[in-house]
Symmetry: C2
Subunit: 214 residues, 2 copies
């Protein structure tokens, strides 16, 4: 397959390198194809990889992989590059500087609204990203599913965590209550997979962690 | 532990039943504690479970589990129930009727904006919910991580799916491009776990599926 990768950061370099190893032809679209550091990087990826201008890379690829910062995306797509019939792979998370949130998206969450209505209580987001048939039996495909929780009160989270362990879940503390802005969409995603994509109600998410991650 | 469960739907009934089996005391807060169908349901859960008014259940529980529809939440919390020092467990996904989206949250996504700027191309959301060190080696904790993708063009998704398989991922088609509204927050969540919660960069999501789900 002819693949254009736009972006030579962590994501772009790994994807292009690995696809090239699999025998795909990869062109990196870069501002200056003759740049020396780019040449060195791409040479390390072997004969299936070349540098090109952004315009030429779009021309070349059947698949265009966008591995660029969100703020650069509109300019590139509006610069007259060839788009007709191309497959654009969008790897972008439109994350604001300093991880302050998504630039396109949620400004609040149900959990934070609850906390505003119940100021005297400690709100913990939990059990919203697993279906009831998984709560009934948290072992799915012979593995314990992960329960994602978040909240601002550590003691409250410890308590809720214990309640999750009681049901056989592994528990992942996702930080402050604002993280509910991302756990709520996760609940939505699982719901869509069950209801719209026909995966059945015995699906669940497991967080995999390599040992060297600890 | 004393647990009040508000809501006797799928989620509320499973949680209360299972915690009661674990020896916790559970009170269900319901509009009418003497309702016959409620009595029958709760009796099936054994001696650790009782019915109560919503007000009494809030009084009783150290932990209050909200397993109610989003639209009912504000009224209940504003009705003068005891909240001081309580742990509120928010299981709610504020999902609109007909699964049309989240009532609190995203009205669009980066992927949909890209599609508007690149009308002649097929946009597929992919590779946004796995970090680059997982793209480099998709086997995490001895298991293949799941790659979530979505888009409106089936052929384009098939192509991108193949590219994910090439990297050793399992691939999960999450439906139309609008699902990027939920995949983008998933990317944000994973990023927070790596960066803010210190889980390291070798974490990934796996979708577990029981065989009976197919």
């Amino acid at each position: 397959m002819k693949i254009a990768v736009i972006g030579t950061g962590n994501v772009g370099s790994v994807l292009g390198r690995r696809w090239a190893q699999n025998g795909h032809e990869v062109a990196y679209g870069v501002p200056n194809p003759n740049d020396e550091s780019i040449s060195i990087l791409l040479k390390s990826m072997g004969p299936n990889v070349r540098a090109a201008s952004v315009k030429d890379a779009f021309q070349f690829g059947d698949v265009i992989v966008l591995a660029i910062p969100w703020k650069a995306a509109e300019n590139i797509l509006s610069s007259g590059v060839e788009l007709k019939g191309k497959i654009l792979v969008d790897c972008i998370n439109p994350i604001k500087e300093g991880l302050k949130g998504l630039d396109v998206g949620l400004e609040t969450s149900a959990a934070e609204k609850l906390a505003a209505w119940a100021k005297e209580a400690s709100v913990v987001k939990a059990f919203n990203s697993v279906g009831s048939e998984v709560m009934a039996n948290a072992v799915v495909a012979s593995q314990a599913a992960t329960l994602f929780i978040c909240g601002d009160d550590l003691r409250a989270k410890k308590t809720v965590s214990k309640l999750g362990l009681d049901l056989g879940f592994e528990v992942c503390d996702c930080g402050p209550l604002t993280t509910a802005r991302y756990l709520e969409p996760l609940g939505m995603l699982l719901t869509l997979l069950v209801v719209k994509e026909g995966l059945g109600s015995r699906i669940a998410i497991k967080l995999l962690k390599d040992k060297q991650g600890f």
